[in-house]
Amino acid sequence: MKQYDVVVIGAGATGAAIAWQLSHYDLKVALVDRCADASFGVSKANSGIVHGGFHHSADSTLKAKLELEGNEMFDALKSELDFEFDRCGILVVAYSEDELPALQKLYERGVGNKVPGIEMCSRERLFELEPKLSDTAVAGFFVPRGGVIEPYGYVFSLVESAELNGVEFWRNFQAAESVHEGVFRTITAADGRKIQARFTVNAAGLYADEVSRICGGEEFEIKPRKGEEYLLDRTSPGRPSKVIFPVPTPCSKGMLVIPTAGGTTMIGPSATMIGDKTENSTTQAEREIIFEHSQKMIKGISERDLVAAFSGLRPVLPGNEDFFIARSEKAADLIQAAGIQSPGLTASPAIGVYVKNILQKCGLEMKEKNSPRKILPPKNRARELSDEEIDKLHADEKLASRIICRCEFISEAEIVAAVHRGHVTLDGVKFRTRAGMGRCQGGFCAPKIMQIISRESGIPMEQLTKRGPGSELLAGKLGDLEVK
């Protein structure tokens, strides 16, 4: 059985950032996830905002502290990990006089939290910053250090870098049972695989309650709150230059208009408490509401430009407004990182450090690795490279100039690299490369991508999945069924 110093359960933004942080030390670390790939749970449908630090009070909450710290860490992370990130700034906009008191209060909280560069804006200044705002905008404030990030790209980069530096990533590992004996806890997966670790970090998102329970930790229940998001074509005239927030409501930061880091426009999310942690559907009713709201915020948003619709679940820890990040009081080897909803993605780099410090306090020796850190190879995104750069790459790698996804301009080399990094599902390749994420939604390239995955991974076509077991893409080969 494999033995580790630390096992991190959950390879979303939180778990990945923790594992990545730990990969700097002389430790044996495992990262496990119930899904077929990293970020396939809560993180894949994240809005991808690097928040500005004004939503929560820094005096009283871990959320605001880690949000502000996390925000400042992204520049360094991006330069090492090469994910899509743009500090485009955030505008919070009031669309009626009634909202002005709430806007003022939020602004003052930001000032109190020492948000860098926060600026109250006149109507004139607002339109100078964002000419696409709808005419009903009355006032707002600007947070220049806010931004957007590609959430799955970020998580994948963390995991791949962690793997490169010694962390072992176990896919399709659904922690089902655990026994603590001596210095080790043994965790058994639903499929029977077992691993042992001295410390366990619970970053299991929606399933943090279950993981806490099987580890003998605190009893709590995670409730999913669903958010639907709608993605518009990169040519949409409704793409703003900054993230546009309305004045928030008590339970949600509201529906946003987001110029995504990948170049598209996203509108949403909605916020609906639901009971089922596997519910991921979209509804006509929410779509109509989201379009109506966003059209009131920004000019040029149209259903004509709709490219994709999806939904995600936030892991809400009822009764606890803050993140729950602490050593368990009931199981001494268990570190809880639960209830990580917004601004979890922004906070995640700081959560990584915070959990590392907790582990250190628990007695885990943290010795920095002697060997130099291994750096991921460049992603060589055809969409971002110049023609000359692509031609130069072609001298060594023919596939660098062979374009597979026409809508997002993704080369075969990018897809092959994704498969070689272990992303062998169609969604895994899509999240890693953006292939199939554009206007044709894989109509042209999905069959080609499936062939590339099959060729590079050795998995037969008919066994390929969209996102893991159960989501098989094909039913077999011609001739397998009787013609009747």
């Binding site: 011609l478 001739g479 009787e482 013609v483 009747k484």
Partner: protein
């Protein structure tokens, strides 16, 4: 009287076909091909069958029958070719030698 749609060309004439005492009367067709299609459809309905077959290299090649086939033979034909591989059939480009499946 039976209403049928002519499938011989994209115009798709809607035809009324009367079949009594072995004699067929067709109306609604805009060309003679309609009348002969209607007659065949009443007496011995046939279709041209197209499919793909697995060639020697594992690639798939489109094929067609060289003439319309009686409808009741189509499933048998498809079941026999879909399960087989045809190593001897390796044309250079996409199609298809008409009549190749005759044997």
């Amino acid at each position: 009287m039976k209403k049928i749609i002519c499938i011989t060309c994209p115009t798709g004439c809607e035809m009324d076909v009367e079949y009594a005492d072995g004699k067929i009367t067709v109306s609604g067709n805009r060309c003679p091909r309609g009348a002969s299609y209607a007659e065949s459809e009443m007496k011995d309905p046939r279709r041209t069958v197209t499919a793909v077959i697995r060639s020697g290299s594992g690639k798939f090649q489109p094929v067609r029958t060289d003439r319309p086939l009686p409808r009741n033979l189509i499933n048998g034909l498809l079941n026999s070719i879909l399960k087989k591989s045809f190593p001897e059939f390796e044309p250079p480009g996409p199609p298809v030698h008409c009549g190749w499946l005759r044997s």
